[in-house]
Structures are given as structure tokens and as C-alpha cells.
């Protein structure tokens, strides 16, 4: 099974989760996802996800100057984003439990 296929469905949740701890700019989000173990995440899809969540009103965005290089655009969770994260977490947990249960039953049978 290709992990990158699975990732596509839960990338929103992963990005929201990473931003729950602290605001971050695109490359920073990417790095945190990789550090958390999601090595297969594609660079461009993370940036695309950020844009979509922003367009959906779940993220705030602001520009901050950086010591090295150009200004960076930071993204952070707003109220909608936090609600979305809570809801998505619930959905994911339910889904994961269901899948785990299914797999356990299969193994027990």
C-alpha cells in the first residue's frame, strides 16, 4: 500500500495539527511534517493545502521579515481552523478506530 495515497486524504488534518502548536511558514510546516515521520509528503502539495485551508477561512496569514532572505508568509489557525481541527480529529479517530477494529476482527476470525 502506497503511504502517499493515504496521505492525500489526511494532509489537511496533518497540516492543521502541525499549526496547532505554533504558526509557521510553508517550508517550516513542511519540515515539521517530515520531522513527525511523514517523509513522503510532496513539497508542492503542502503549499497547495495551505492555500486551500486559507481559502476555506481556516487559516490566518501574515508576512514577517526574516533575517536571512525574503519575507516569509506565516500561516496560523483561527477559530474556524481550530473547529475544523477538532472536527477532523474526531472524524479521523472514528475512522482509525473503525479500521483498527476491522483489522482486529479479520485477524481474530
Amino acid at each position: 500500500m502506497d503511504p502517499s495515497q493515504l496521505l492525500k486524504g489526511v494532509l489537511d488534518l496533518a497540516v492543521l495539527a502541525v499549526l496547532r502548536d505554533a504558526d509557521g511558514y510553508g517550508y517550516d510546516v513542511l519540515r515539521r511534517l517530515r520531522a513527525a515521520g511523514l517523509e513522503d509528503v510532496a513539497d508542492a502539495s503542502v503549499y497547495g493545502t495551505l492555500r486551500r485551508l486559507f481559502a476555506a477561512g481556516a487559516l490566518t496569514s501574515y508576512v514577517q521579515p526574516s533575517e536571512e532572505g525574503p519575507h516569509r508568509k506565516y500561516y496560523g489557525l483561527n477559530k474556524t481552523g481550530l473547529e475544523l481541527l477538532a472536527q477532523s480529529t474526531k472524524t479521523w479517530n472514528h475512522f482509525a478506530d473503525t479500521m483498527s477494529g476491522l483489522l482486529l476482527e479479520e485477524a481474530a476470525a
Binding site: G26, Y27, S45, Y47, A55, G69, P70, K73
Partner: protein, 427 residues
């Protein structure tokens, strides 16, 4: 925003941008801001500036990158077909060709004439060049400039140029690029900068202008290697420089010093003849010769050098000044030559003729030293009592000449084009 990116990274960004060109402008600007940040971070992962191939290894092709972004962001599939890209490339190429032909045409007319009227042409040429180049770059719409090579005409053009390049041996080609290119950058900068500031007339300013031009030219050359869009401006300017640089070199070679010519014609007696550029004696140009015989009478003579070649000067009479005859053929070795009268224009001449709009005279405008006999043609009135320091028409030539021995005369140092005439007294 993308000004911080250079080289292949900037090209990559431009290609991603082209792939996303169907997005609403606001969203496009926002997402490109992110992509720019991403690409600069990725570029920083490399020790040196990454090549296009290295970038593709890391991120996929620009179109794959754009597709990933599009899918994840939930943008609608690309709507615009490849067609507008082609017409854009076509337009970019057309504007480039216009900039390279029409602009230089006006500029060269201006530079060849060099008067105030021509400056007008120069301004028109510059406006045309810059305008057409700007339109050409705009037609690219941020896409890779190489797309013009995909068009029909672009393909033919590049094939022709490649055919020409293939005729140059590979090692010479290498030398041309490594040595010829910087030399060319400096040369065109010196001529360009020098030409602009030469208008001011001060040579020191011209030198500074030439130096500044060389620096700017090298900078532009390096910029163009990084961002090929500069080609739309650089190619037309190169066309101008390709024509002006050899002309300028030729001019400074021929006009700046008489050396090559005077030496070429040098003979043992060092008497030189070059009708177009006149005569010179010890660096001072001679516009006419007034021979007097031993009695101080003005005489008419024909002058020849030791090889029997006529020592001629351009005619300066009324026919020349009114344009009745003209050109370099109107020379004569009969002296004194008639010149247009500039003194006492209201007087009638010696024969009592009425004045005409143009009168000429071959009378010496000076008084020869006292002589026993009255000059036949007669000096100006009241002149015989005031001797002046002029050549004495006696047996001993008092013309300040070099030795009677043949001596090679150095080129004129006054900067005036001409040939040195050293009169050798042979009687």
C-alpha cells in the same frame, strides 16, 4: 517578490507561474509568493546555486510541481490550452525582430550623421528599440524565453544560426566564447558609453563615459546569462554595436593619425602626396601655395613631386563653394589656386569687374618681401613699404625646411589628417 531568485531557480519559478497562469490574478500572486519562498528555501539546501536538473530531481518538473499544487489547493483543472502560449511566443519573437531592425536603423542614421537633427533620429530609435523590446518581453507573460524557439519561425531561425555556428571549428568556438565574449562586452561598452558622452565634447568626460559604459556592458552581459529576457533589449543594442564598433575603430585609425598613410607613401625625399587630405609643412596644414619668381613677381606654376606625381590640393574656388563642381576629383596642382574672396567683398576686382555673389582671387593675401621689380599681378595697395616675414624669393630658399638630405618625416602630431610635405631645395 521573485527578484530575490536568480538563474535556474528564477526560471523554474517562471515556468511554474506559466503553468498556473489561468488562476485569478490575486490568488496567483498569493500562491507565487509561497512558491517563491519555497524555492528560495530549496535553493538554500544546495551548497551552490542549483542547476535546473538538480531542481527537477528535488521537486519534479515545473509542470509536475504546478499539478501537485493545483490538486492539493483544489484549483480547477487548467483551462487555457497551449494555444495562447504559442501566439505569445510568436508575438515575443516578432517584437524582438522589430526591436532588432527598426531601432538600430534609426540609431545608426543618428550616429552616422552626428548633428542635432540626427539626435532626433537617435531618440526615435531608442524609443522604438526599448518599446518593441518591452512589448516582446511582455508577450512572454513570464514564461521561459526559450518558448520562442518552439514557434515555426523561431525554429527556422535557430536552425540557421546553428548551421552557421557549426561551421566554426569547436576549439575556435570555445575561444570565441571564453575570450571573445568578455572582449566584446568591454568593446561595446567603451564605444557605447564613449559615444553618449562624446556629445558633451570634453574628452575627459568621454573617457569616464567609456569606462562606465564598459562596466555597465559587462554587468548587462552577466545579467543576460542569468535571465534570458534581457535578450530582447541586448540583441538590438548588439546590432547597433556590431555596426558602430568597426566603424569607430576604422575612424580612429584613419582619422586619428596620418601614420599608416604617410608611411605607406613614404619616399626617400619624404615628400608625400595625398590630395584628399591636403598638404602640411611641419605639422601645419597648407591650403594654398603662392609662388614668386626671383624678382618677386607672382607666377603660376604646376607642382610635381620627385616621382612626377602632381602635388595637388582640393580646389576652393566659387565653382566648388557653390557646388557647381565638387567631390574629391576637383583637385589641381596649378598654384596659386583661386580662392573665394573673403576680404573686402564690396570692392571690384583688379580688372574692374562688378562684384558677383562669389568672387575668387589668386592674389597672395600677404605682401612678399621687397623685390626690385613690380609684381605683375600686383600686391594689395600700399603693401610694398611693409615687408613681412614671408619666404624670400631669392636663389637661396629661406623656407624653413628640414635638411636637404632625405629624412623620413614623422606623422603629423596635430591630430589633423594630412600628409607632411617637406620641401627639399633642389635647384
Amino acid at each position: 517578490v521573485n527578484s530575490t531568485l536568480t538563474g535556474p531557480v528564477a526560471t523554474y519559478l517562471a515556468q511554474v507561474k506559466a503553468e498556473l497562469s489561468d488562476l485569478p490574478p490575486g490568488e496567483l500572486a498569493d500562491v507565487l509568493e509561497d512558491v517563491t519562498g519555497h524555492l528560495s528555501e530549496v535553493a538554500a539546501e544546495f551548497e551552490a546555486e542549483p542547476t535546473a536538473a538538480a531542481l527537477q530531481d528535488r521537486l519534479g518538473t515545473p509542470s509536475q510541481y504546478a499539478d501537485e499544487l493545483r490538486t492539493a489547493a483544489g484549483y480547477p483543472p487548467r483551462t487555457k490550452a497551449a494555444k495562447p502560449e504559442r501566439t505569445g511566443a510568436e508575438a515575443a519573437l516578432t517584437w524582438g525582430v522589430i526591436a532588432s531592425i527598426v531601432g538600430p536603423l534609426f540609431l545608426i542614421i543618428a550616429l552616422a550623421n552626428g548633428d542635432a537633427e540626427a539626435a532626433f533620429f537617435g531618440v526615435i530609435g531608442l524609443i522604438f528599440l526599448a518599446g518593441a523590446a518591452f512589448m516582446g518581453v511582455r508577450a512572454l507573460q513570464g514564461r521561459d524565453p526559450r518558448i520562442v524557439l518552439d514557434t515555426h519561425r523561431g525554429q527556422r531561425l535557430s536552425e540557421n544560426i546553428r548551421g552557421l555556428i557549426d561551421q566554426i571549428p569547436p576549439n575556435v568556438r570555445h575561444e570565441l566564447v571564453t575570450i571573445g565574449q568578455p572582449v566584446w562586452w568591454v568593446a561595446r561598452g567603451i564605444v557605447g558609453g564613449g559615444a553618449i558622452f562624446a556629445v558633451s565634447g570634453a574628452s575627459a568626460v568621454t573617457v569616464v563615459g567609456a569606462l562606465a559604459g564598459a562596466i555597465v556592458s559587462v554587468w548587462i552581459g552577466r545579467r543576460t546569462q542569468e535571465d534570458r529576457r534581457w535578450l530582447w533589449y541586448v540583441v538590438p543594442l548588439n546590432v547597433v554595436a556590431t555596426i558602430i564598433v568597426p566603424l569607430w575603430l576604422a575612424y580612429s585609425f584613419v582619422g586619428g593619425s596620418a601614420g599608416p598613410f604617410s608611411n605607406y607613401r613614404s619616399t626617400p625625399s619624404s615628400t608625400n602626396y595625398y590630395s584628399q587630405n591636403g598638404l602640411a609643412l611641419d605639422g601645419t596644414s597648407i591650403s594654398n601655395v603662392y609662388p614668386f619668381d626671383e624678382q618677386g613677381r607672382q607666377v603660376k606654376v604646376r607642382l610635381y613631386d620627385q616621382d612626377g606625381k602632381p602635388i595637388s590640393l582640393p580646389l576652393q574656388n566659387c565653382a566648388v563653394s557653390t557646388g557647381t563642381i565638387g567631390g574629391n576629383d576637383s583637385v589641381s596642382n596649378v598654384y596659386p589656386q583661386a580662392v573665394v574672396r573673403t576680404d573686402e567683398p564690396t570692392q571690384t576686382d583688379a580688372d574692374g569687374n562688378d562684384i558677383t555673389p562669389c568672387t575668387e582671387t589668386d592674389k597672395a593675401p600677404f605682401v612678399p618681401p621687397p623685390a626690385p621689380a613690380t609684381p605683375t599681378t600686383g600686391p594689395p595697395p600700399g603693401s610694398s613699404t611693409t615687408p613681412q616675414p614671408t619666404p624670400t624669393p631669392t636663389a637661396k630658399p629661406s623656407v624653413p625646411v628640414a635638411s636637404s638630405k632625405p629624412t623620413p618625416t614623422p606623422p603629423a602630431t596635430t591630430g589633423k589628417p594630412g600628409v607632411t610635405l617637406t620641401i627639399t631645395p633642389t635647384r
